[in-house]
């Protein structure tokens, strides 16, 4: 596997506090790679080390197969979690300025800025100052600024935060398009659904440590099997499930019904569950096996408390 990014034994300490502890992973070239974890897990510290803003306390990083020199880092695009642009600059100037700082010639930088803005529906506001743009537009401009110098490796820190669902979809498409163009994308998020939809591989971090690294499918395989039941009216399934040792969560179903997501990892399978329901005379309107989500896999790996912090 050709790695676009390699981290080996990364450690970051701020005084007595350890933010990242012994983190190692590899990002395959051309892949979309997600770094997941709750707030405060160490994602941003990790990403800031990867792009050279922070110096690791220990460990080594290789970017595009080499030591992360200035020349190499010019081939990397970065969208930080704490983001902003010069408010008095126009959208095209802001993009071009950041591209030029990455070594793009002036004329090319402005040409690409115009092209990117037009492609992303911002052609009409390209000469408007950032302070006059909506928050979503400004965020889009910032994303474009991170890719205007056509980097081989793009690192986005929480790129979806602050975006409305429509713009989240647009950003997902942008990420896919960049990957399709052969670029490697690494992004962090605490929203598992984005990673589930986009990522080839994921790294789960909890308390600064690696909890999992692998494909999304591998992660999901670690999640428990589930069954979803729906009962009519106010029927309570708890007296049926509890004696058999099932764990469940309850949510509102269709037409005011009660819906139960039951974990099937207590030694009983779906057959035993169905049998117990029938014996109890539960008014079932739905009984189906369900695919666990990445979130549920995450909960299974790091525990309920850590996972709750992610929400």
């Amino acid at each position: 596997m050709n790695a676009a990014l390699e981290a080996e034994g990364l450690v970051k300490r701020y005084g007595a506090r350890t933010a990242v502890q012994d983190l190692s992973f590899q990002v395959p070239q051309g892949s979309i790679y997600g770094v997941l974890g709750p707030n405060g897990a160490g994602k941003s510290s990790t990403l800031r080390m990867l792009v050279g803003v922070l110096r690791p306390t220990a460990g080594a990083i290789r970017v595009l197969g080499q030591e992360p020199t200035r020349e190499i880092m010019r081939r990397v695009g970065y969208l930080p979690e704490e983001r902003g642009l010069y408010r008095a600059m126009s959208a095209r100037s802001a993009i071009a300025y950041l591209a030029r700082l990455k070594g793009t010639p002036t004329r090319t930088a402005f040409k690409r800025a115009d092209q990117l803005l037009t492609e992303h529906g911002l052609g009409k506001v390209r000469r408007k100052k950032i302070k006059t743009l909506s928050k979503g537009m400004a965020q889009k401009v910032q994303v474009l600024a991170a890719i205007a110098h056509q980097p081989e490796l793009i690192i986005f820190d929480e790129p979806f935060s602050g975006l409305d669902p429509v713009n989240q979809r647009v950003l997902e498409e942008t990420i896919r398009a960049q990957a399709a163009a052969g670029r490697t994308i690494l992004f962090s998020t605490h929203v598992m659904e984005h990673a589930e939809r986009l990522c080839d591989r994921i790294l789960l971090i909890a308390n600064g440590r690696k909890a999992f690294e692998g494909t999304v499918r591998d992660a999901l395989a670690l999640a428990p099997s589930l069954a979803v039941l729906e009962t009519d009216g106010s029927y309570d399934m708890a007296p049926v499930l509890a004696p058999l040792g099932f764990e469940w969560s309850e949510e509102l179903g269709e037409h005011g019904n009660r819906r139960w997501r039951v974990r099937l990892d207590n030694g009983h399978g779906s057959r035993q569950l169905l049998q117990a329901c029938v014996e109890a005379g539960a008014p079932l309107s739905l009984f189906e096996p369900a695919r666990a989500s990445l979130h549920e896999a995450f909960v299974a790996m790091v525990g309920e408390n850590v996972a709750r912090a992610a929400e």
Binding site: L79, R83, L85
Partner: protein, 478 residues
């Protein structure tokens, strides 16, 4: 120059010069300086003459004091006309002043001088001064001070509608005059000084007459005065008498020091607010992937230095042009000599060196402080103590003007943060080369050290998000 440093400098430069604040500074500063220079003069001219009344037991006393006021008004008019002609028509000044002196009174003197100017220098006639006296003596509207009080406290106007500014009451007690000055303007006592001067001469006349001497002897004695000359013992001065031309550089240095101080403080403030703005705009992380903190610091210093250079070029061209014109046209007049002093190479060199060193030191400190602040409000709390440090050299400027080589001034000149200002203010006194080299080396070392420390603090502030509040929190936790 490396690319990122240039790009940061360029962006900062254009961000500042495209702001309205820059244009305000560029255009308003010369205007404000002109107003500060000429406002007192214009205000004095715009002020109407003050109306005084003199009440005296002996009419001769009133006449003596009234004459002194008239003589003073004549002298003032002559001085104003002399200054104007020295600048506007130096060739006719002597003849015009002779005509003024030959005239019987002030008004006739002004008319005579104007007549000479009209004949020999018609171009100078346009702005020829028409000086008005500072005081007008009127007949007292009441015979004694008790009854004058209503006029003096503003309750009653004079018959012609004007208000009485003050009254001099001259009494005689056992033959000796006593002057009482009545006015609601308690801080202004010039009329009583003028009356005292006049009455002292009158008393001298009376004393001489009592001894059988001519009273006019008093006038002659009053004019007796030794000639005083000041010399500079340094070989470079060549033993010549000290004139205004030699003293003018000291005043020019004082003015330039104030300009230097104001500019350094203003541009350092630009750096401080610029970094805070970038921190609050959350743009630093984006920049830091392309620019190192040291490059960013250097770029910002360079960008604002270019802003300062633009200001200086404009002000220098404007001021230099006006000063050159004044130096050329006003020749040996006070204005011409002071103007020429501003253009002395040693002052310009000291100003340039002082600006570069001062800007780098204070600029780097302000940048570092900005990196540690999260808001303008937080920065303002820090600026208090910093402003006090900046104010310290300014407190030494006046003593330095009196004695540039006083031990305290010499010692303070070696404090790197004060050197740029004190070097400039001491420059006209002719510093030793050893002292200049020593202070230069000290400033250079300090600039390097401050830049190094500032870069570390700047990096801690922008990269590790260390701020004053986090520092205080850490300290509080122990």
């Amino acid at each position: 120059m490396s690319g990122p440093v240039f790009l940061v400098a360029r962006r900062d430069y254009f961000a500042y010069v495209s702001s309205w604040g820059f244009w305000l500074s560029l255009l308003l500063a010369p205007l404000i300086i002109a107003v500060l220079l000429f406002a007192p003069l214009l205000l004095a001219r715009a002020e109407p003459p003050r109306i005084l009344a003199i009440v005296a037991e002996q009419p001769a006393d009133a006449a003596v004091v009234t004459q002194e006021f008239a003589d003073m008004a004549r002298r003032d008019a002559r001085t104003e006309i002399a200054a104007y002609l020295a600048a506007a028509a130096p060739g006719v000044a002597a003849q015009a002043l002779s005509a003024f002196d030959a005239a019987p009174d002030r008004a006739a003197g002004i008319a005579a001088a104007r007549g000479v100017a009209a004949q020999r220098a018609p171009r100078a006639l346009g702005a020829f001064p028409t000086p008005s006296p500072r005081y007008i003596i009127v007949e007292p509207p009441a015979p004694d001070v008790e009854r004058l009080r209503a006029y003096l406290d503003g309750a009653q106007a004079l018959p012609d509608g004007r208000m009485l500014y003050g009254a001099l009451n001259i009494r005689r007690v056992a033959g000796d005059p006593i002057i009482e000055y009545w006015s609601v303007n308690l801080s202004h006592g010039e009329p009583s000084d003028i009356a005292r001067r006049a009455m002292r001469l009158a008393m001298q006349r009376e004393a001489l007459a009592a001894r059988g001497l001519s009273p006019n002897e008093a006038d002659r004695l009053n004019t007796l005065e030794p000639r005083v000359a000041q010399f500079d013992p340094r070989p470079s001065a060549g033993g010549a008498r000290v004139t205004l031309r030699q003293r003018a550089p000291y005043y020019a240095a004082l003015a330039l020091t104030f300009v230097l101080w104001s500019v350094i403080f203003s541009v350092a403030n630009m750096l401080l607010t610029g970094v805070i703005e970038e921190k609050s705009n959350k743009i630093l992380d984006t920049l830091l992937t392309s620019v190192t903190p040291l490059e960013m610091l250097a770029g910002k210093l360079l960008g604002v230095a270019a802003v300062s250079a633009t200001l200086f070029l404009f002000w220098g061209a404007l001021g230099g042009g006006l000063l050159s014109m004044a130096a050329e046209r006003a020749g040996n007049s006070m204005l011409g000599q002071v103007a020429a002093a501003f253009l002395e190479p040693q002052l310009i060199a000291a100003f340039a060196v002082g600006f570069i060193a001062g800007y780098l030191m204070y600029g780097a400190i302000f940048l570092a402080l900005g990196a540690l602040c999260e808001s303008i409000q937080e920065a303002q709390t820090l600026l208090g103590p910093v402003a006090l440090v900046l104010a310290m050299p300014m407190m030494l400027i006046t003593p330095a003007l009196d004695n540039p080589n006083a031990p305290i001034i010499e010692s303070a000149s070696w404090v790197p943060l004060f050197t740029p200002f004190l070097l400039l203010v001491r420059a006209p006194s002719g510093l030793d080369w050893i002292e200049i080299a020593g202070m230069g080396a000290m400033m250079l070392a300090s600039v390097a050290l401050i830049l190094l420390l500032a870069a570390r603090v700047f990096k801690a502030g922008v990269v590790n998000q260390i701020s004053m509040s986090t520092l205080f929190r850490r300290k509080a936790r122990g």
